[in-house]
Structure formats: structure tokens, C-alpha cells
């Protein structure tokens, strides 16, 4: 296949996917639409993390922290922060807080990216992990600003679009959950297209050069400091947008909404979805959101024998299933779903343009 044909197939597939996303709510229940909205949110965070880890080679085990920064930014702006002694303002319409959530988290990403320049590989993973572990207690510590352990409740605020009434948009009435779904997925698809644009050009090439060999990248004139910090910033901004949407969809933030496990699940998501690829991340997001439910046998219902469902509903049962499924996936699809796509593409096409480099 020529590069042009590959790209054409990519565009057609993307258009098909957009159409699929657009009609999906008509075929599923209101509750399911809300669940799929969360899949969209995870997709945004995974796109961001993959830019940093999959494309630039910098492992982050702390991306939940950037989501938390975005989430708290949105929540504080929406709630107006009057209850907590501050005076940010009298509340802001929810959707306008999303770009600000991305901006604040992005700046935090740059700020963290600069000291992180000294670290690579495992050390960076541990440093980011330390941030993710420390975050909940830090949020609790600054109670007057963040609401401490009890968090910030946005439920029922007038700034939340469609909290109580249906949302009218483009002459159509949407239920609250459908509105959330379209909001999250519109941003997710824009984020997807944005990531594609960033990664296909000069910046993306520089990222990949840093990932594949820092020494070679430097000797070809790629500034490590600049591109690593940039990758951190973009990646954190994506996580911040996801966090802002999370706060809006959840109508509540507290430290427990962004636990260490979230950061770990995001990393799991990009590895399952496929490092250094974008389309597989949709499956990564589905995995991250739905496997905890499926592991209880709840969603799969009558597919499984009663005895199995009984055992997996005991405490600890779902975790066993989750862990084992995760390990098996790493055995079966070492390069994630994205890697599987590439393999199928390789088998279908005659020859690849260039050999796909295994990241990290």
C-alpha cells in the first residue's frame, strides 16, 4: 500500500468512527450513554499520556495528578470558590472551564517537565509515581482551598449545563446524559485529530527521535529540553481537559476521585491500546472503563455460568479477574490493540514504508 492509500483508509475509518459515535446514543440506554461519555474522557487522557510515553518515551506513572489539577480547576471555577475562603468569582459556565483546566494542567506539566529533564526511564516513572501518591494527602492538606477530604460538590449548580432540564442544542433536545456524551466525545474527537496533527509533523518526528535515541536526536539538532518539556506540557494539558470533563460529568471532585490507581489505569490503558499509536487507544479507554465492571461478571450476565458469577462477586474476585486478564493481554498482544492493527495492516498490505519501531 502506498502511504497515500494508507492515509486515505485512515481518513475513511476516522469518518466512519465519527459517524458511529454520532448515532450511538440513539441505540443505547440513557445510562449507557453516560458510561460511554466516561470512555471519551479516558480516551482524551490516554491520548495525552501516549504523546508523552508512547511517542516521546517518557514514562509517567502520575498522570492522574494532572487530571486532578484539571478537575479541581474546573470545579473551583464552576463553584466560584466562595465556600472555601477564596474569591475566584461567582461561578463560571461549565464548558468554558474546560480550556482553562487544560491550560492550568498544561502549565503544571511544563513546570514538572523542567526538573524531570534530569530523569529518564525508571527514575522518571518513580518520580511521577511519587507525585501521584502524594497528591491526595496534599489536596486534603489545603482544605480551605480544595474543600479537603469532603471535596467540592457541583451537583445542582446553575453553572452545570442541563443539570435539571433537557439541553437544547442545534434545535434538538438532549437528555442530560446524551449531552454529556456528545460534549465528551466532541472534545475527544477534536483531541484525537489534534494529536494526529501534532504527531505527524516536525514536532512528532522530534518526539519520536527523542524516544528512539536521545543521543541520536541531539546530534541531529533536536533540543531534548525543549521537546521533552513540550511533550510534558501537551500531555498534561490533555489530562487536564479530561480532568475538567470528569469534574463536570461527575458533578463532584474529592481526593479519592483521583487515586494512585487512576494513574496506573491510564498507563495500563495506553499499553493495552498500543504505545505509539492513536486508534488503538479507543480500545484502551474501553478496557480501562469497562473491565472493572465486566470483571464482576455483571455486564456479561448470562454469558457466564452462575458459579463463576458467584465467585467473582465475592470481595477480591473482580480484582483477580482484572489482574489475570491484564497479564494474559500482555502475553497475547504485546504491542496492544494498536500493534494488532498494524500486524493486520502488514498482512494485508504488501510492504510497509518503514519498519515499525517498538517503543521503549
Amino acid at each position: 500500500m502506498t502511504p497515500r492509500a494508507t492515509r486515505l483508509i485512515g481518513f475513511v475509518a476516522f469518518a466512519g468512527f465519527v459517524a458511529f459515535i454520532a448515532v450511538l446514543p440513539s441505540f443505547v440506554s440513557d445510562f449507557k450513554a453516560q458510561q460511554y461519555a466516561y470512555v471519551g474522557i479516558y480516551l482524551i487522557a490516554l491520548l495525552g499520556l501516549n504523546i508523552l510515553t508512547g511517542y516521546t518515551g517518557q514514562i509517567s506513572l502520575g498522570h492522574g495528578a494532572f487530571m486532578a489539577i484539571g478537575g479541581y480547576t474546573s470545579a473551583l471555577l464552576i463553584a466560584g470558590n466562595e465556600d472555601f475562603g477564596g474569591s475566584i468569582g461567582g461561578g463560571m459556565k461549565d464548558i468554558w472551564t474546560i480550556p482553562l483546566a487544560g491550560l492550568v494542567a498544561g502549565l503544571a506539566g511544563v513546570a514538572f517537565g523542567i526538573p524531570a529533564l534530569r530523569l529518564s526511564g525508571l527514575y522518571l516513572a518513580l518520580a511521577t509515581f511519587a507525585v501521584a501518591v502524594a497528591l491526595p494527602s496534599t489536596v486534603r492538606r489545603f482544605e480551605e482551598f480544595t474543600g479537603g477530604g469532603s471535596g467540592i460538590n457541583l451537583f445542582g449548580l446553575p453553572e452545570i449545563t442541563g443539570g435539571t432540564t433537557p439541553v437544547e442544542i442545534l434545535g434538538r433536545e438532549l437528555t442530560y446524559n446524551d449531552w454529556l456524551y456528545y460534549l465528551c466525545w466532541t472534545i475527544a474527537l477534536l483531541a484525537f485529530a489534534g494529536a494526529w496533527l501534532i504527531l505527524r509533523g516536525r514536532t512528532g518526528r522530534a518526539f519520536r527521535a527523542v524516544r528512539d535515541s536521545e543521543t541520536a536526536a541531539v546530534s541531529s539538532g533536536v533540543s531534548l529540553a525543549r521537546y521533552k518539556t513540550l511533550a510534558f506540557g501537551i500531555s498534561a494539558a490533555y489530562a487536564g481537559v479530561a480532568g475538567g470533563l470528569f469534574a463536570i460529568a461527575n458533578t463532584f471532585v474529592n481526593p479519592d476521585a483521583f487515586p494512585v490507581a487512576l494513574s496506573i489505569f491510564l498507563l495500563i490503558g495506553i499499553v493495552v491500546g498500543g504505545l505509539g499509536g492513536l486508534s488503538g487507544l479507543v480500545f484502551g479507554a474501553i478496557f480501562v472503563y469497562f473491565i472493572p465492571f465486566w470483571a464482576q461478571g455483571a455486564d456479561l450476565g448470562s454469558l457466564l455460568p452462575d458459579r463463576v458469577i458467584e465467585e467473582t462477586q465475592k470481595p477480591g474476585g473482580p480484582a483477580i479477574v482484572y489482574g489475570v486478564v491484564l497479564i494474559l493481554l500482555m502475553f497475547v498482544i504485546p504491542n496492544g490493540v494498536g500493534g494488532l492493527f498494524r500486524r493486520v495492516g502488514q498482512l494485508l498490505g504488501r510492504r510497509r514504508r518503514s519498519k515499525v519501531q517498538e517503543p521503549l
Binding site: Y123, S213, G316, G317, A319, I320, V324, L326, F331
Partner: protein, 304 residues
């Protein structure tokens, strides 16, 4: 007054060393696996947790006395560690590091789930083998448990050191970790040596778990904080250095207890028990930023 303050101080030193000895054991386990497999084993804490529950079950349900149960648990843990490497880690070795990391995270989740599923979430009591006696040494009161913990940890570390230093198998394990290709050429069975490394790490973890349970209480979340302290200890000492892990663990235990002790004075009154964990993380960040190779590690050398 001064004497009393000194005695109080010394008590904190001893209990700090006891806590640090546990961190040191688990940090040593992390270092052994990092040297051989090149990853941080996120499941190390949960493997230790499982071992501790096995010891508890042997004592409670199978009428073992403490020390026979202790030895049996070490044997089971060793076999479990070897099996973990052969079954779970080996298939993903040689690929991307992240894949191995995710597999160890999968193990973490699965083992924690298994413990909860098998034994339930309620706290269990694993009694200290050293009793609840206290000794008064020149005004300094130390508990038998602290002394016993330090003694057992040092004994295990010495045994391990002797194994690595004076036996052929120890030499082979080191060779396999340092240079697998050349080790294979001279007849070392590298994959088995790596598996033995995992077995030894699991055994160390088992000791750490069994020494932690009497003070902290045995429940499915017991090892999570300990694992993070062990991370901090390993980073402090240098993630590649066994000596560093031991000293890092002891220093960390001392440091945290010193802060608890100093919290009675005005200059340190900001310190409270819930800041223990963030302090350890702050230490990780500081060490990584100032001297990423740690106190005893060799700096990373990059080759083109």
C-alpha cells in the same frame, strides 16, 4: 530531664531502626529484581502480603508453631517467587520494559484480590514471635519485638550476603544479572539464575511481611505503604546497590522516627503522622533530582 530526653531519643532510634530494617529487606528485594530483570517489581509488596497470610494461615488453621511456620513460609515464598518468574515474567522478558511493568501491576492487582477473596478484608492478628517484653537498658526502654526485628533482618541480610559472596550459585546469579550473554557462554543457566533471584526477593519480602504484621496488623492493605517506603529506601541507597538498599532503609526508618520525635519541639510541630508517607515521597523526589543514582549507586552511563 536531660537523661529522660536522651532515653526517649534512644527509644525512637531503636524503633526507627526496627522499622528501617523492614524497609531495608523489601528494598533489597526490589534491588535484586531490578538488577536481574531491569524493572521495578510493583507486586513485591503484595507478594510479601500473600506470604504473610500464608504464615498466618499455617499458624491459625494448621497448628504450626511460629518458627516452623516461618521457615515453611520462606520455602513456599521462594518456590512462589521462582514460579512467578518462570510462568509470568519470562514470557514478557526481552520486550519493552513497560510490558513487564504492566505485568507486575497485573500481579499486584491479582494477588491483592486473591488475598481479599481467600481470607477476607478484616484485620488478622499475627503475634510477634518475640513476645511483648520490654528491656530496660540504662533507662532506655526497648521492646523485644524491635530488637528481634532488627536481629532477624540483619541475620537474613548476612545470610544473603554470604550466599552472594561465597557460593558458586551466588556468583552465578550475580554473573547472570551483570552480563547475561557472557554468563551464558561460560555455562551459567541464566534464566534459572534470574528465577532464583525472584525466589530470593520473594523470600526477603516474606520476612519483611512477617516482621511488619505484628506492629501494623495484618490486613490486605498492610504492605502498600511499606512498599512505598521500600521504593524510597531503594532510591535513597541507589536502585542498583544492595548495600545502599539496606543503609537506605535504615536511614529512612531513622529519619521518619526522628521527625516523629522532633515533632514535640516547636520547630518541627508541622510534622504529624499522616505526613510520614509524603515525607518519604519528598525524599524520593529530592534524591532523584539531586543525585539520581542514590548514595551508593553507580551513575547511569549512556552508550550510543
Amino acid at each position: 530531664m536531660v537523661v529522660a530526653a536522651f532515653a526517649d531519643f534512644m527509644q525512637q532510634v531503636v524503633s526507627g531502626l526496627a522499622a528501617g530494617a523492614v524497609y531495608a529487606l523489601l528494598a533489597l528485594a526490589l534491588v535484586i529484581i531490578h538488577r536481574s530483570t531491569g524493572v521495578i517489581n510493583f507486586a513485591q509488596g503484595e507478594m510479601a502480603l500473600l506470604s504473610t497470610y500464608i504464615a498466618w494461615a499455617l499458624i491459625t488453621h494448621h497448628d504450626f508453631a511460629y518458627w516452623p511456620a516461618f521457615v515453611a513460609t520462606l520455602a513456599i515464598s521462594f518456590a512462589g517467587g521462582v514460579a512467578t518468574h518462570r510462568i509470568v515474567i519470562r514470557p514478557v522478558e526481552g520486550g519493552s520494559v513497560l510490558r513487564i511493568v504492566i505485568v507486575t501491576i497485573g500481579l499486584l492487582i491479582a494477588i491483592n484480590g486473591f488475598v481479599l477473596w481467600q481470607w477476607g478484608g478484616e484485620p488478622r492478628a499475627l503475634e510477634s514471635p518475640f513476645g511483648i517484653d520490654t528491656y530496660d537498658i540504662g533507662g532506655v526502654v526497648v521492646t523485644a519485638n524491635d530488637v528481634g526485628t532488627i536481629a532477624v533482618a540483619f541475620g537474613i541480610v548476612l545470610l544473603l550476603w554470604a550466599l552472594f559472596q561465597f557460593t558458586k550459585i551466588g556468583l552465578a546469579i550475580r554473573a547472570a544479572a551483570v552480563n547475561p550473554h557472557e554468563a551464558r557462554l561460560v555455562g551459567v543457566r541464566v534464566t534459572w539464575m534470574l528465577a532464583l533471584g525472584w525466589g530470593l526477593a520473594a523470600t526477603l519480602g516474606a520476612v519483611a511481611g512477617m516482621l511488619t504484621a505484628p506492629t501494623v496488623g495484618l490486613d490486605p492493605n498492610m504492605m502498600q505503604a511499606v512498599l512505598i517506603y521500600a521504593f524510597a529506601a531503594a532510591v535513597l541507597g541507589g536502585i542498583d546497590s544492595p548495600v545502599g538498599a539496606v543503609i537506605g532503609g535504615l536511614l529512612l526508618g531513622l529519619l521518619l522516627n526522628m521527625l516523629s520525635y522532633l515533632a514535640q519541639y516547636e520547630a518541627f510541630d508541622w510534622f504529624s503522622e499522616e505526613l510520614r508517607l509524603p515525607m518519604a515521597l519528598l525524599l524520593i523526589l529530592l534524591v532523584l533530582l539531586v543525585k539520581p543514582s542514590g548514595l551508593f549507586g553507580r551513575p547511569e552511563v549512556k552508550r550510543v
